[in-house]
């Protein structure tokens, strides 16, 4: 089931129809999937692209002159070009990794450990996902650099004033999520870059929650490094990417050694292949890259601008309707958010909220969302989180709100 190949963009009903997981009931109810910030559902075109590779040309890449290998190599490199184009850059600036986490670790290891000196400062926010925090803690420990936090505004947003105040002559690197996976905040990356580059600091952006939802051009943003994951943007698991400005990539050491990332190897030493291949040690996730390219094509056919408006509208509506529920706390600004709504109901643990919702066929996440320092900043242990994507509808918001009334009733009895 692929989308009708008209020149006009598909309707939201057609879009939702492309996701086979939605054609099921959960605990007797049609599934409402509100956990896309953890991982998205997959459209049939992506599933088919993966199957086709495994069925017809399941070959390794870059290694053989035979026909299947040629076809696999071509598809893999075409995927690189398409994914690069999707974020506004060229193939040679795009490294395939296994996800945002590996991408950030690659920069924290390969760039930061090589360039940071004792006393240098890494500037970040308390809202970072563990994947964009723990690698920097490790890099700081290894180099003698230190982490400096720019506190959030009272609404939980990155504050440019706080960021500005946090810069010192030792600030060498600024790292921040493009969109927070808890607060839904979109951070003003262009301003961050302008400020950071005026201080000669490198900017690393965690795009795990932005690339699935917003039109992104790393070139326009002007960032030095940009990380994201395929599985959150309708793509396969085990694939992601790192964009690096060409000069930055060239001054980055590889993270994984072996396989085709080399130029010449003798017994004692090795030299590296060109960028970006030197960062892709070992057999890559070929099926993943091909599936990710299909996901990108699918998202483009729907239109990133439309998707951005759609998920934002649903999230804002959900936030505005949840806030007045008895005992409800919605985190972050009500109106200024992307696809994510984190919340709590007084006296009911998020696990119990999620459990009752699940019994109604509604999938939300409960926990610390890999953002324990943010939980501490918000003075909570954990929260429930509903996240929206292109296949969600206003009826899904209705079901969520009704479901939360049931939660209140159930635990209020």
């Amino acid at each position: 089931m692929s989308l009708p190949s008209t020149t006009t963009a598909p309707s939201w009903t057609e879009v939702a129809g492309a996701f086979p997981a939605l054609r099921q009931t959960v605990n007797g109810h049609p599934l409402v999937y509100l956990d896309s910030a953890a991982t998205s559902l997959k459209p049939t075109v992506v599933i088919d692209a993966v199957s086709e590779y495994y069925r017809d040309y399941p070959s390794n890449v870059h290694r053989s002159v035979h026909t299947l290998a040629g076809r696999a190599t071509e598809a893999y490199e075409a995927a690189r070009a398409r994914v690069a184009g999707f974020i506004g850059t060229r193939a040679e600036n795009l490294v395939f990794t296994h996800g945002t986490t590996e991408s950030v670790n690659l920069v924290a290891n390969g760039w930061a450990r090589r360039h940071l000196q004792p006393g240098d400062e890494i500037l970040l926010t308390p809202a970072e996902h563990h994947s964009n925090l723990v690698p920097w803690q490790q890099a700081a420990r290894a180099t003698g650099a230190r982490l400096v936090y720019a506190e959030l505004s009272p609404e939980g947003h990155l504050s440019m004033a706080a960021l500005r105040a946090a810069f010192t002559p030792r600030t060498r690197l600024v790292t921040v999520a493009h969109v927070s996976n808890v607060l839904g905040t979109e951070n003003p990356i262009r301003q961050v870059v302008e400020l950071a580059h005026r201080h000669d600091a490198v900017v690393v952006v965690d795009g795990a929650q932005s690339v699935p939802h917003l039109p992104v051009s790393v070139t326009e943003l002007g960032v030095d490094f940009f990380a994201f994951s395929g599985h959150k943007m309708c793509g396969p698991t085990g694939i992601g990417a790192l964009y690096g400005r060409p000069d930055r990539l060239r001054e980055t050491d590889p993270l994984l050694f072996g396989g085709e990332m080399i130029a010449e190897v003798d017994r004692e030493r090795a030299t590296w292949a060109d960028v970006p291949y030197r960062f892709e040690g070992g057999t890559p996730n070929v099926a993943g890259a091909i599936g990710l390219a299909a996901a990108v094509q699918f998202l483009e056919s729907v239109g990133m601008q439309r998707i951005a408006v759609h998920s934002r509208e649903l999230a804002v509506e959900a936030a505005e309707r949840l806030a007045p529920l008895p005992g409800a706390a919605v985190y972050g600004s009500l109106a200024n958010r992307q696809a994510v709504v984190a919340f709590n109901l007084a006296g009911v643990h998020p696990h119990d909220v999620a459990q009752v919702l699940d019994s109604l066929g509604i999938a939300v996440r409960a926990g610390h969302h890999c953002a324990q320092p943010l939980m501490a900043t918000l003075a909570i242990q954990s929260s429930a989180r509903a996240s929206f994507y292109l296949y969600n509808t206003r009826e899904d918001v209705d079901r969520l709100v009704d479901g939360l009334r049931e939660v209140g009733r159930y635990f209020g009895r």
């Binding site: 109810h29 696990h351 119990d352 459990q355 009752v356 939980m375 242990q381 954990s382 009334r405």
Partner: protein
């Protein structure tokens, strides 16, 4: 009206997990607090949600003379910690450990022959909700580790 229709299914489904006695322990937890004179104490947390439950024990003459738990958690973890106190206070430490071990086995081993004592049996519904097993066993694991640290070993975990 939509929620009315859901009501039935909701009850049928969830009540296996959230038995009345569980919600009662959650809303009126027994032995919540700390023991200033604790001889054994250990906190464990559930990495998924960041919840932490600490167990304080006062062991006298080889018996669990007193028990308290503290921290925060979901209904299941709090109720389980509350029930555990009822089940171990007054017991010899070996028997207390055995209660905890047996309860973990009851929830995690499909072939288990265990019948947990007291209200703990009401947590049997958790077996159908594997994601909640960690919640239900948090206090039990803490008690076992606390006692093991002083030489009363249960199975390795």
């Amino acid at each position: 009206m939509v929620s009315a229709k859901w009501g039935d299914i909701l009850g049928a489904n969830l009540d296996e997990l959230y038995r009345e006695v569980i919600l009662d322990h959650f809303q009126n937890p027994r032995r919540m607090g700390t023991l200033p004179e604790a001889t054994h104490t250990l906190g464990l947390h559930n990495p998924t949600c960041g919840d932490k439950i600490a167990v304080d024990l006062q062991v006298e003459d080889g018996r669990v003379a007193d028990y308290r738990f503290s921290g925060h958690g979901c209904s299941i973890s709090m109720a389980s910690a509350s029930m555990l106190g009822d089940a171990v206070v007054g017991k010899p430490v070996a028997q207390a450990t055995e209660v905890a071990r047996g309860f973990v086995d009851f929830l995690t081993n499909p072939q288990s022959q265990e019948t947990p004592p007291g209200d703990l049996e009401a947590l049997g519904g958790v077996r159908k909700f594997p994601a909640r097993v960690k919640c239900a066993t948090l206090a039990h694991n803490a008690l076992m580790e606390a006692l093991a640290a002083h030489g009363v070993h249960a199975e390795p975990h």
